[in-house]
């Protein structure tokens, strides 16, 4: 017993453990917001959107510009948070209509490669438009401090994420299961050819889904902006994390993304305490283990690809 407490001195510190769990949950919620869009896009269009991280980055940069541009009143931040994802959604729409639409009939690998090309294009455009300097967005006054949880400090801003992300999740669930559009989406993930045969405009559906997914990525970026530096390189950081979360959860599975995001977030938080030496590779090690045990991710569906 002794060697466990020396190795992990925090293990008897119940409040520290709880705070780490809360931290992990917040990280998980961020991850969920970013990855669910990717999972959704894949589920309906079968495109693995590698440019998802780039949209996240654009969302963060747009947040910076909007906050700068809007007056420094208390509502400036919230208005920016509302508008930034819309900007990214528009970008997503343009990309889908101009580029992706032309290649849906092609090998999925080609679609993946096209989105890879997009990463390069978007990252250079961001450098050209916003310049090389690091940028930052301040947290809104109301959420700049911290609350006391379990006798420890917990940043108030993370409470926003802990509230907003599940709201988005519930909202999405309601859309998918309580609206006609949502029903079409679910049908498309099962059999889009049949859906087309039944007279649904599948092309328009694809665009809508891609726009929605991009909106989610933009929201993730805008929401994350006050907690990190808004800088070049954000796109690849988040892409890798999102991709791992999506794959571990199972491509196309909404619930899978949620569970996986929470799992990854909490594991990362604790991984740093338990195995600090392998924090570089923890995410990949987890993914490797999951994929070896469950080849389709946690809740993914086996299919002939």
């Amino acid at each position: 017993m002794d060697f466990i407490t020396t190795l992990f001195p925090w293990i008897t510190n119940g409040s520290l453990i709880m705070i780490q769990v809360m931290s992990g949950l917040s990280v998980g919620m961020f991850l969920f917001l970013v990855s669910v869009g990717m999972s959704l896009i894949f589920g309906v269009t079968r495109v693995v959107n590698l440019a998802h991280g780039s949209f996240y980055m654009v969302g963060a940069y747009m947040m910076v510009s909007l906050v700068e541009f809007l007056p420094e009143r208390w509502w400036g931040f919230w208005l920016a948070l509302l508008l930034a994802p819309i900007g990214v959604a528009l970008l997503g729409g343009v990309v889908e209509v101009a580029l992706l639409r032309r290649i849906y009939h092609r090998d999925p690998l080609m679609q993946l490669i096209l989105t890879f090309g997009l990463i390069l294009v978007v990252s250079t455009l961001v450098l050209l438009v916003w310049g090389p300097d690091n940028k930052s967005v301040e947290r809104p006054e109301a959420l700049a401090g911290s609350v006391t949880l379990f006798g420890q400090f917990f940043p108030s801003y993370y409470l926003l994420v802990l509230v907003l992300a599940p709201l988005v999740a519930v909202g999405m669930w309601m859309v998918f299961y309580r609206t006609r559009w949502g029903m079409l989406i679910r049908a498309a993930t099962v059999d889009r050819e049949m859906l087309g045969a039944l007279g649904v405009n599948v092309a328009a559906l694809y665009t809508q889904v891609f726009v929605f997914g991009s909106w989610l990525a933009g929201l993730g970026g805008a929401l994350a902006a006050p907690t990190v530096a808004v800088a070049l390189g954000m796109d690849s950081d988040v892409l890798v994390n999102a991709f791992v979360v999506v794959v571990v959860g199972g491509l196309g599975s909404f619930a899978g993304s949620f569970i996986s995001a929470v799992l990854v977030g909490v594991l990362q938080s604790f991984g740093i305490l338990i195995f600090p030496a392998i924090s570089i590779v923890l995410l990949f090690a987890v993914m490797a283990v999951v994929l070896i045990v469950r080849p389709w991710g946690l809740l993914g569906r086996p299919e002939e690809h």
Binding site: T124, L127, N134, F153, A231, S269, A277, S279
Partner: protein, 418 residues
């Protein structure tokens, strides 16, 4: 698989060969008048926040040198290549610059890996290489050789300056947070090593090694809060340090435990942080705006104005390195009275001093290592509400850097291992 048709492939190959031959004809013929320095650095992607101002400084100095008559009557010219932050791309660029563009010398680097790779190439091909922006002490020490000169300070010098300042405080228990790669380990080893020399009762209470580019530091922040340390130092830098500081704020970490940093005083970090800047943090930086600095160095303000006119932005520490590097290269050639590599190396072996708007820079002969002044200050909010470095104390790197005797020992040990 269907076989490909011959003619188009042949055509393409011929076209390719023609392109090969056509492209470099002009520069190869231009050898003769200007002294050409091949500069390899990271001019795309996320390093540009550092390399763009650095290049402005370099070009500003080059123009001044040329306007004043050049070096040995010849203009000095920099030929730039992008290493994409990859050591193998840097070697490729070095090869092109030396064998194709026929440059007289090589220069540049920001990533230590790149610097080491170019240095290995330079040693092998007996080309003189001036490392200008990367920081690793290995360049002139562990992996040193005659064909390299380091025109800016190395990790040893500026970290010792921070350690020296740290030793003036009664802090005994130290923690740190450093990125888990060569630079992070280098900084921590230098810091704690020198601090223990100056203040033997110092002890390490916690070590934190986030991965380079970590985005969420909450676990490390809570760990630091529990560490019982009297103070801690961070060598996390750039976007990662901005994220760290922002994340640490609501936890009150920086108010509870005195914060030392290797780089937060630089504008690329202080400016974006703005109101969230870590007030009270002790850190080095190029605080050209500081009253004390300008009093000590009367020529500084004018230099800054000139830089600002040209670059449309105030200078960074890197800009000063670029400026100094160009002058040091020029000086070495001047003293050698020739662009012959061996003669320039001999000039470097003798060493020399140069005066810059921010003080004296020594080019030390025993290891071709530049020694500039070191500044350590405290982060404060100015009257205008801007985050600045204040209470800047200046030491010269000469007081801090390892002696030539120590370096000779390092070189000897390395030679033995071979």
């Amino acid at each position: 698989m269907r076989s490909i048709r011959a003619t188009p492939i042949l055509g393409m190959s011929l076209l390719g060969i023609l392109l090969f031959l056509a492209a470099p004809a002009a520069p190869a013929a231009a050898q003769g008048k200007p002294i050409r320095i091949g500069e390899i650095n990271s001019y795309s992607g996320l390093a540009t926040v550092y390399t763009f101002p650095y290049r402005e400084g370099l070009l500003m100095a080059a123009k001044e040198i040329n306007d004043a008559g050049g070096v040995l009557g010849r203009p000095i010219e920099f030929v730039f290549r992008d290493d994409k932050l990859k050591p193998d791309e840097a070697v490729k660029a070095a090869r092109e610059l030396v064998s194709q563009e026929k440059v007289d010398f090589l220069a540049g680097c920001i990533s230590s890996g790149v610097g080491l790779a170019i240095s290995a190439y330079a040693k092998d091909t007996k080309t003189l290489y001036f490392a200008t922006h990367c920081q690793t002490s290995r360049l002139t020490w562990d992996d040193g050789h005659p064909y390299i000169a380091h025109t800016t300070n190395n990790v040893n010098q500026y970290v010792r300056a921070i350690a020296k300042k740290a030793s003036t405080f009664p802090y005994k228990k130290w923690a740190h947070i450093s990125p888990d790669y060569e630079y992070g380990h280098n900084v921590w080893d230098e810091f704690i090593g020198y601090l223990k020399e100056l203040k033997p009762d110092v002890e390490v209470s916690q070590q934190n090694w986030p991965k380079l580019g970590e985005t969420d530091h909450s676990a490390y922040i809570t760990a630091l809060l529990q560490s019982g340390a009297d103070a801690f130092i961070s060598s996390v830098w750039g976007a990662q340090e901005i994220a760290f500081v922002k994340q640490a704020r609501p936890f009150g970490l920086l108010q509870k435990i005195p914060f030392f940093s290797a780089s937060v005083g630089n504008p690329d970090e202080l400016e974006p942080l703005a109101k969230e800047a870590p007030v009270g943090a002790i850190t080095p930086g190029f605080a050209w705006y500081d009253e004390g600095m300008q009093k000590r160095h009367p020529a500084l303000k004018e230099w800054v104005n000139k830089f600002q006119t040209q670059a449309k932005k105030p200078p960074t520490l890197g800009a000063s390195w670029g400026y100094a590097s160009a002058y040091i290269i020029a000086e070495a050639i001047k003293r050698a009275k020739s662009t012959d590599t061996d003669k320039v190396i001999a000039a470097l072996d003798e060493g020399f001093d140069m005066q810059f708007p921010w003080g004296k820079v020594v080019m030390r002969g025993c290891d071709h290592q530049a020694i500039p002044p070191q500044w350590v200050g405290k982060v404060k909010m100015s009257a205008e509400g801007k985050a600045v470095l204040a209470d800047v104390e200046e030491h010269h790197g000469e007081e801090l850097i390892r002696s030539c005797a120590e370096i000779a020992k390092i070189h000897a040990t390395v030679a033995e291992k071979k």
